[in-house]
C-alpha cells in the first residue's frame, strides 16, 4: 500500500512537471517570425506589448498602433482582394502611381505617364528606387509584376486579374514600361493609380508562396520587422526610401473583430487609430479626453438591387416607387448617427462621371403609393434580402427600409436576413435568372470612375448586374471607347441620369469610414479606406 502510494505520487509529480515544461517550451516558441526578417532587422520584436500607443516610448521612438477589424490574408500584395490586407501590405509595397487623400492621382514609382496611342500606355520609372532587399527597381521587375497580376500563367492566378484592364502585352524598356491593352482602356491611369503593386521578380522566383505571404520586399516607406500571422504585423522605417521619410519610426497593425475591444484599445491608449467605430460607440470616444472621431466619406455605396426581369420590379414605376418609399435621410440620421450621405445615382460625388444635376429621390410615401397603383402591382408582396454584418448596420438599414416599404398601403414587404457568403453565392452565379429579386448590397469603387460601378453592376454583361438595358449598354460602350476625357465624362453623366430614372436600385447612401484617432497624433483619413501611416505626425 505504501509502495503504491509512493509510485502514484511520483507519477503525478512527474506528470505535472512534464506538463508545465511542455507548456513553457511551447509558449516560448510562439512566433511566425520569418527567417529573412530576423536577418533583415535589428529590431528585437515587441516585448512591451502589441499596441504602440500614442506617440512613442521612453526611448524617443515614434510608434503608431493601428487596430482594424480583421488582419491580413497573407502578405502577397497581388494575391488578395480585400481592404484589410491592402492596408497592411500597402505600408511596404507601392504601385506605379498613387492617390492623394481625396483620390487625386499622384506620382509614385512612375514619374511620368502618357498614352502613346489608343490602347498603349507608357510609364517612365523613377530613378534610385530600391527594394527593401537593397536591390534597385528595374523595368523588368515592373513588367513582371504587371504580368503576374494579369496573366494566369505567370506564377499565380491573381484575384486582381481584371483590375488593370484587358492587358495583352507588357514591355520593359530603358527606364520605362509600356503596357498594351485589348481596346482603348480609357481609364488606364485611374486603374494604375489604385492597383498594381510592384514586386521584385528575382525575389518572387526564389521564394515560394508561403514565404512571400509571410514576408515583404517592397519599395515603400516601411519595411517589415515582425509578422505574427493573424495577430499583428510590425513595420519600421525604411531608411533608403526614395520619398520623404515618415515621421513615424514604427507601425504596429493588429486587429479585433469586436468593435468594443477596438474602442477599448483606443481609450486605454494602446492604439492610436482604430477603424470602423460603430455609431453606438461614437459618443464613448467623443466623451473621452484621449481620442476623438474622424469620419470621411468612403468609396462605398450602399443600395437595394431590384432585378429588372421579374415582377413587380420589371416595372420602372414600381422601382421608382420603392425609391420614394424609403426615407434614406432618416435612416442616415437615426441608424448611422449621420455618418453617411444620400445618393441618387450609382456614381458617388467627386467621381468621374458623377452627375451634379441629379437629385436623390425625396421621401414621399404618397407618390410611392401612386406609382405602385400606376404600375399595376398594388397589393404585391415582396421580400428584401440582406446580408448580416457585412456592411455597417446593414441589417438595421434593411429593417428600416423594409418597414417603410411595408407601411405603404398597397405593398407588403418582408425582410430575409442571410449570411453574406450564402447571399453572395446567388449574386455571383453568372445568370441573372438565379439572382435574388430584391437585396441589399454594397460596392466599393477605388478607381473613382463611374464605369467601375456601372459596368459590373448595371451593364448587361456585368458580373453582378440586375439590369439589361440597351441604352445603358450603348452609353457605356461609347464611354469605354472615347479617348476625349471631357466627352467621356459627359457620356457617363448621361448614363447616371438614365440610371437614376430607370431606378434599378433603391439608391441608399454613401458609407462613411469612421475612425477613432488618438489625440496624441495628427492624421487625416482618406476616402479610399487606406491608412497612410507615413502621413501621421505627433501633436
Amino acid at each position: 500500500m505504501s509502495n503504491d502510494d509512493t509510485t502514484r505520487r511520483r507519477f503525478l509529480r512527474t506528470a505535472g512537471s512534464a506538463t508545465a515544461a511542455v507548456a513553457l517550451a511551447g509558449c516560448s516558441s510562439d512566433s511566425d517570425q520569418p527567417d529573412q526578417t530576423e536577418e533583415q532587422s535589428d529590431t528585437t520584436g515587441d516585448s512591451s506589448g502589441n499596441g504602440a500607443g500614442n506617440g512613442g516610448d521612453a526611448e524617443g521612438t515614434f510608434s503608431v498602433g493601428v487596430t482594424m477589424g480583421q488582419m491580413d490574408s497573407g502578405l502577397d500584395p497581388q494575391d488578395h482582394a480585400e481592404t484589410n490586407t491592402e492596408i497592411i501590405v500597402g505600408q511596404a509595397y507601392e504601385g506605379l502611381m498613387d492617390r492623394d487623400k481625396e483620390g487625386g492621382i499622384i506620382e509614385s514609382l512612375a514619374t511620368d505617364w502618357e498614352r502613346v496611342e489608343p490602347g498603349v500606355a507608357r510609364f517612365t520609372l523613377r530613378d534610385n528606387v530600391t527594394f527593401h532587399s537593397g536591390d534597385s527597381l528595374t523595368a523588368e521587375d515592373v513588367a513582371y509584376s504587371i504580368r503576374r497580376i494579369v496573366f494566369e500563367d505567370v506564377d499565380i492566378s491573381s484575384p486582381q486579374a481584371n483590375d488593370l484592364g484587358a492587358v495583352s502585352e507588357v514591355e520593359a524598356g530603358d527606364g520605362e514600361v509600356t503596357v498594351i491593352f485589348d481596346g482603348l482602356n480609357p481609364i488606364v491611369f485611374q486603374l494604375f493609380a489604385t492597383n498594381g503593386e510592384i514586386m521584385q521578380q528575382s525575389w518572387i522566383e526564389e521564394n515560394d508562396s508561403d514565404f512571400i505571404n509571410r514576408n515583404t520586399n517592397g519599395t515603400g516607406p516601411f519595411q517589415l520587422s515582425n509578422y505574427d500571422s493573424g495577430n499583428q504585423v510590425t513595420f519600421e522605417t525604411y531608411e533608403d526610401y526614395w520619398g520623404e521619410k515618415a515621421e513615424v519610426d514604427e507601425v504596429t497593425l493588429s486587429a479585433s473583430g469586436e468593435s468594443s475591444t477596438r474602442v477599448n484599445r483606443l481609450l486605454a491608449e494602446e492604439s492610436d487609430i482604430v477603424t470602423n467605430v460603430p455609431p453606438q460607440e461614437v459618443s464613448r470616444v467623443e466623451g473621452s479626453d484621449v481620442a476623438s472621431i474622424n469620419a470621411v466619406p468612403s468609396t462605398r455605396v450602399i443600395f437595394l438591387q431590384m432585378r429588372y426581369d421579374v415582377e413587380p420590379f420589371s416595372s420602372q414605376q414600381f422601382r421608382q416607387a420603392m425609391n420614394y418609399a424609403v426615407d434614406v435621410e432618416g435612416i442616415i440620421e437615426n441608424v448611422l448617427n449621420g455618418f453617411g450621405s444620400i445618393t441618387g445615382q450609382p456614381t458617388l460625388e467627386a467621381f468621374t462621371g458623377y452627375n451634379p444635376d441629379v437629385d436623390p429621390y425625396p421621401y414621399d410615401p404618397d407618390e410611392a403609393e401612386r406609382l405602385v397603383e400606376e404600375s399595376g402591382h398594388a397589393g404585391v408582396e415582396i421580400t428584401l434580402q440582406t446580408p448580416i454584418g457585412r456592411y455597417l448596420k446593414d441589417v438595421e438599414i434593411a429593417q428600416a427600409a423594409a418597414s417603410q416599404i411595408d407601411s405603404l398601403s398597397n405593398v407588403s414587404c418582408e425582410l430575409e436576413q442571410r449570411e453574406f457568403s450564402s447571399l453572395v453565392q446567388d449574386i455571383t452565379t453568372g445568370n441573372i435568372e438565379d439572382k435574388p429579386h430584391f437585396n441589399l448590397l454594397g460596392w466599393g469603387n477605388g478607381e473613382f470612375d463611374a464605369s467601375q460601378t456601372i459596368i459590373p453592376l448595371l451593364a448587361s454583361n456585368g458580373a453582378l448586374t440586375v439590369l439589361e438595358n440597351d441604352e445603358v449598354d450603348a452609353l457605356m460602350e461609347e464611354a469605354q471607347n472615347e479617348s476625349d476625357l471631357e466627352k467621356r465624362e459627359a457620356i457617363l453623366r448621361e448614363a447616371n441620369q438614365l440610371l437614376h430614372d430607370l431606378a434599378p436600385w433603391v439608391f441608399m447612401h454613401q458609407q462613411f469610414s469612421v475612425y477613432g484617432v488618438s489625440n496624441g497624433i495628427e492624421w487625416q483619413p482618406r476616402n479610399d479606406e487606406f491608412i497612410d501611416v507615413d502621413t501621421v505626425s505627433s501633436k
Partner: protein, 330 residues
C-alpha cells in the same frame, strides 16, 4: 482486461473519434452555404476567372478525390494550404496552439488556486458566512457568461483604471522564463505578462472555478462523513491532518478527473474569450477563418481542437485507470 489492453482500446477508440472529426469537418465545407471561390475572387470576377481559381485550388475535383487527398496529406502531417492566406496550414495552426494552451493552463491555475481552498473552507465551515459566500460566488460564476465578464473587466480594470491591458498577448510565458537568464528584467517581464493574461484567464476560468469549488465542497462533505475519518479522529489525529491529508486527498481524485476533462474543454471553448480579448490563439484563428471562408485553416484548427480534446480524454482515462485499477477491469 489488463491496463495495457485497456490503453490500446482507448487509443483505438480515440483514433476512430479523430477520424470522425476529420470527416465531419471536411464535410462541413460542402454543406455550408457559400463557395470558397468567393472568398478569393472579387465579387465582380467573371466566370472564367472563377473557374481558373477553382482549378488552382483543386476545387474542381470530385468530392471523393478531394477527401482522399486530404486524408492522405493529413497522415503525412500536411493539413493543406490556405488559399486565402497563401500559407501552409499546419505551421499556421500550430503557431497558435501555444497561446491557447497558455490561456487554458492559466485559467486552470486560476481555478485551482481559488477553487480548492474555497471549496475546502466552504465544507469545513458549513453553514457559516464563508460557506454562504462561496456558494453565492459559485452560483454567480456558473451563471455569468464569460464574454460579459470579460467586457466588464476590460471596461473597469483596463480602460478605467489602466491596471491591465485591454487585449492582445504582448508577452508570453516563454518570455518570462527567458528573462530569468536573459537581459530583460525579470520582474518587469513578469508584470507585463500578468498585465496581458490575468483578465482573459479570469474570464475563462471563472466558470471552472465555480464548478470546482462546488465539486470540492460536496466531495469534502462526503469524505468527512465517512467512517475512516471518524476512525482517524478517534485515533487522536489533529483535525488539520484529518482534513488535508486524508479527506482532501480522496476528494481530489474526482476533482483531478474533472480538471483534466475541463482542460480539453478550455482549449476548444476559449473561442469567445479569445475574441473578446483579441487573444491570438486557435479561437481567434477559427473566427478569422470563418469570416474569411478559409476552409483549410478552419478544418486544421477544428481537427487540432478535436484531437487535443480526445487526447486529453484518453490521458485522463488512462491516469484514472492507473490510479484506480477497477476502471481498467470493467
Amino acid at each position: 482486461m489488463s491496463f495495457g489492453q485497456f490503453a490500446i482500446k482507448r487509443v483505438l477508440q480515440g483514433v476512430g473519434v479523430v477520424w470522425g472529426v476529420v470527416t465531419v469537418v471536411f464535410a462541413l465545407r460542402f454543406v455550408t452555404p457559400g463557395s470558397a471561390i468567393n472568398a478569393v475572387a472579387p465579387l465582380d470576377a467573371d466566370q472564367e476567372t472563377r473557374r481558373a481559381i477553382a482549378a488552382e485550388l483543386g476545387l474542381d475535383q470530385p468530392l471523393y478525390v478531394q477527401y482522399g487527398q486530404y486524408i492522405f496529406d493529413l497522415l503525412q502531417g500536411d493539413m493543406g494550404f490556405s488559399y486565402i492566406r497563401g500559407q501552409a496550414v499546419t505551421s499556421l495552426v500550430f503557431s497558435k496552439v501555444p497561446a491557447t494552451v497558455e490561456l487554458a493552463v492559466a485559467a486552470t491555475v486560476v481555478a485551482i488556486i481559488l477553487s480548492i481552498p474555497l471549496g475546502v473552507l466552504s465544507a469545513t465551515r458549513r453553514n457559516q458566512p464563508i460557506d454562504y459566500g462561496a456558494t453565492l460566488f459559485s452560483l454567480g460564476g456558473i451563471s455569468t457568461p464569460n464574454f460579459w465578464l470579460g467586457i466588464m473587466m476590460i471596461l473597469v480594470l483596463a480602460v478605467e483604471f489602466g491596471i491591465f491591458h485591454t487585449s492582445g498577448r504582448g508577452v508570453n510565458v516563454g518570455d518570462v522564463v527567458l528573462s530569468l537568464v536573459g537581459t530583460e528584467p525579470f520582474l518587469d517581464t513578469l508584470l507585463s505578462w500578468l498585465s496581458y493574461i490575468t483578465l482573459p484567464a479570469i474570464a475563462l476560468g471563472t466558470y471552472f472555478t465555480a464548478l470546482i469549488t462546488r465539486l470540492t465542497r460536496s466531495g469534502m462533505l462526503d469524505e468527512l462523513s465517512k467512517p475512516y475519518v471518524k476512525a482517524t479522529r478517534a485515533k487522536g489525529l489533529p483535525e488539520t491532518l484529518v482534513r488535508y491529508k486524508h479527506a482532501l486527498r480522496n476528494t481530489l481524485i474526482p476533482v483531478i478527473t474533472v480538471l483534466g476533462l475541463q482542460l480539453g474543454t478550455l482549449i476548444g471553448g476559449a473561442v469567445i474569450t479569445e475574441a473578446v480579448f483579441s487573444w491570438p490563439g486557435l479561437g481567434t484563428l477559427v473566427i478569422h477563418s470563418i469570416n474569411l471562408r478559409d476552409w483549410p485553416v478552419l478544418q486544421g484548427s477544428l481537427i487540432v481542437i478535436g484531437t487535443s480534446f480526445v487526447l486529453v480524454n484518453i490521458v485522463v482515462d488512462m491516469i484514472y485507470a492507473y490510479l484506480d485499477p477497477r476502471v481498467a477491469y470493467d
